[in-house]
Amino acid sequence: MTFAAGGGSVGRRDAWYHKPDVRRLGASLGVGLVLALVTGKDGRSGHFGSGIAAALGGVRVPSFLAVGLALWGVATGINRYGDEMRRALAPATAARKRVTGNATFRTTSLLVMLVVAIGIPPMLSSFWQGVLVEQVGIFMLLAVGLNVVVGWAGLLDLGYIAFYAIGAYTTAYFTGTLPVQPPIVLNPFLCFPLAVLACLLAGVLLGAPTLRLRGDYLAIVTLGFGEIVRIVANNSDGITNGSRGATNIPHFSIHLLGINYDWTLNSLPYWYLIMVVLAVVVLLFFRLEHSRIGRAWAAVREDEVAAQASGVATVKIKLLAFAIGASTSGLAGVIYASKIGFISPDNFLLILSISVLAYVVFGGMGSLFGVMVGAALLTWLPQFLRDYVPATDRNLYIGAILVLMMIFRPAGLLPARRRRTELSLHDIPEAETVAVPAPGSMGGSI
């Protein structure tokens, strides 16, 4: 930055503490101290210094400063020799790309994953089977649905969990577990189409008046909608049983053509059910992504005005994305309601909408496989951390991981091909004009 203005003299910009190495050292030592705080003891209410003093007391400070120093060494090393290392590894990278880009490799890995998904769960303890169903499976389904709205159509939806709630409450209603009785009591399986229908309707009802709004306005309106749904469910005692929620929602069962099977408290059958539903949904979406509709979504996401000018019916196409995402969420709601057997408004807090969004972006917006991996990883992680960190600190680590991930891999874990291209295009001019901060160029896609 040579043409610094707005107060500071050029000399201050060249001061020793602005040297990249020194700044990196400061940042690394800071990270070390934060690590010391994060892994330290809890403070006590009313004694503000106690937690910090315990975390930084004794040998902890020097040892964590040493960790910071080591980090600095690694970062400096990468900075100095990174290019050479990359050059040295270039043949290996190229070979890896050749293999991973190969069609047979993709099919084989898909098959391997399928085998793992079918074969491994029976060997797990019932706790982990429960996690697989109630966390991993359900949220994978939700993430795949939200991916249509956020990743493909580029609509920021912060009230996504409302549709999940609508799906779950539809199930509760049609299985006769709410204070208001349905015309006929149905098997949860028959609730799938009804929940999809209800969510489609809700999606269109919410979308039709609001989808004209641009980016962030849409975000706050959907957030508002999510809260409205939850509060209405919480306050309408006569219809939804208020905060006590619906209890004893029956499990799935099949009594058809001589086949009699009941899903019970056991999680394993639910896992396979989710896998089937997920497989169908993913297959449909995979076909959708490169269809006319999928391309229209991409056009709307990249530049709405240009898309409209090219004859894309933008409002209709956005509404479609909204409705499809909503109905996927509804499917997850049905499975969840029937698996747990109990739902209450507290299952549908705003924080869940935000979490699903985080899973989608973490995994790589727009990439079907990426969002599934993102959801699976981030729902598995808290349960995994359960054994190692106090329950209350879990979100601390998750928050830190989200920030780090976005700093080092802003397009997500397994970015969609289109986004990867966009980002690498951005890198070229950035490398040539390192000194110029260009925040204006961060607009781009949503």
């Binding site: 503000f48 706050i220 973490f362 600190d393 979100n395 928050g399 920030v403 966009e422 110029v436 961060m442």
Partner: protein, 310 residues
């Protein structure tokens, strides 16, 4: 409904609304220069409340008793400064850690949102870990419910007067900064067109950083006032944060006077609604009003005005 009740809820609404407005200004300022929702602003607010609490407890102890009004007011101002500084430092660090590296890499806009959400999780739980997870109260060094003056036969008590007065003072100050100072000029220039502003010699990074600091000062002070009014806890930021964001959008995001108007209006509407319907529906009212306004005025009440004088 009678007039007395109306006056009472208007006072409550103005109190709450001016807090919303202060927080909303933080959202709107950052939106102005970066066009993104600073989702972690609610944590700036929370840190401000803790900053005020820590400062006050360090100065007069946790079990301080009632003081003469003059002395108490001095401590109140000191506490507010503590809150504002804590808020500003939090906001500055936030910009440095969670936003600037992403900006350098040209990350997609949603990445900023996720980074902010992560930072929000982190800060919230760090505060819970270090400062305890139970709600905490300010020492009773000031008689908050002491009546100051009467409207009809409704009294307006001390804490309400303090909140409204200091909020108005800060908003006027902000308005002056943005309109009259060089920094304000820079903020407006970056909001209008960042690249052109850079060509004109505005240091964008520094302007953005300072915008965060200003938002943090206001948010931190609001956190302190809110903590005085109610209590301080690590998850206190969430609901006021969401409401204030709604208020910023209501007024037209990026529009500074819009944020003030939106905040006050949201507070008033929420409290007036209590006159007509059950109190448990007030949160719904806030969002229904928001949705209705946006349907008919899609860019907020005063409209988006990136970069123009307030």
């Amino acid at each position: 409904m009678n007039l007395n009740e109306f006056v009472q809820f208007t006072i409550l609404g103005l109190t709450r609304g001016s807090l919303y407005a202060l927080i909303a200004l933080g959202y709107t300022l950052v939106y102005g220069v970066l066009q993104l929702i600073n989702f972690a602003h609610s944590e700036v607010f929370m840190m401000g409340a803790f900053g005020g609490l820590i400062g006050i407890q360090a100065l007069i102890g946790a079990n301080a008793t009632l003081m003469p009004v003059g002395q108490a007011l001095i401590y109140l101002v000191v506490g507010m400064v503590f809150g504002a500084v804590f808020g500003a430092v939090t906001a500055w660090v936030l910009e440095r850690v969670a936003y600037r590296p992403l900006r350098r890499r040209g990350a997609p806009r949603l990445a900023f949102l996720i980074s902010a959400i992560g930072a929000s999780f982190f800060l919230q739980n760090l505060a819970g870990k270090e400062f305890g997870r139970l709600p905490q109260y300010f020492p009773a060094f000031i008689d908050k419910s002491q009546p100051v003056f009467q409207i009809g036969n409704q009294r307006m008590n001390l804490i309400q007067v303090i909140i409204i007065f200091s909020a108005v003072a800060m908003m006027i100050g902000l308005d002056l900064i943005v309109r009259k100072t060089k920094l304000g000029q820079g903020i407006r220039a970056v909001a209008q067109d960042a690249q052109t502003a850079a060509l004109m010699g505005v240091d964008i990074d520094r302007t953005i950083s300072r915008t965060f600091v200003i938002g943090g000062l206001l948010g931190g002070a609001a956190g302190f006032l809110f903590g005085m009014f109610a209590n301080v806890s690590f998850n206190m930021g969430f609901l006021p944060g969401v409401k204030a964001f709604a208020a910023a959008v209501l007024g037209g995001i990026g529009n500074i006077r819009g944020a003030m108007l939106g905040g006050l209006l949201l507070g008033l509407v929420e409290n007036w609604a209590v006159l007509f319907i059950d109190i448990k529906w007030t949160d719904v009212i806030a969002f229904v009003v928001l949705v209705l306004v946006l349907m008919f005025r899609p860019s907020g009440l005063l409209g988006e005005r990136l970069g123009r004088a307030a």
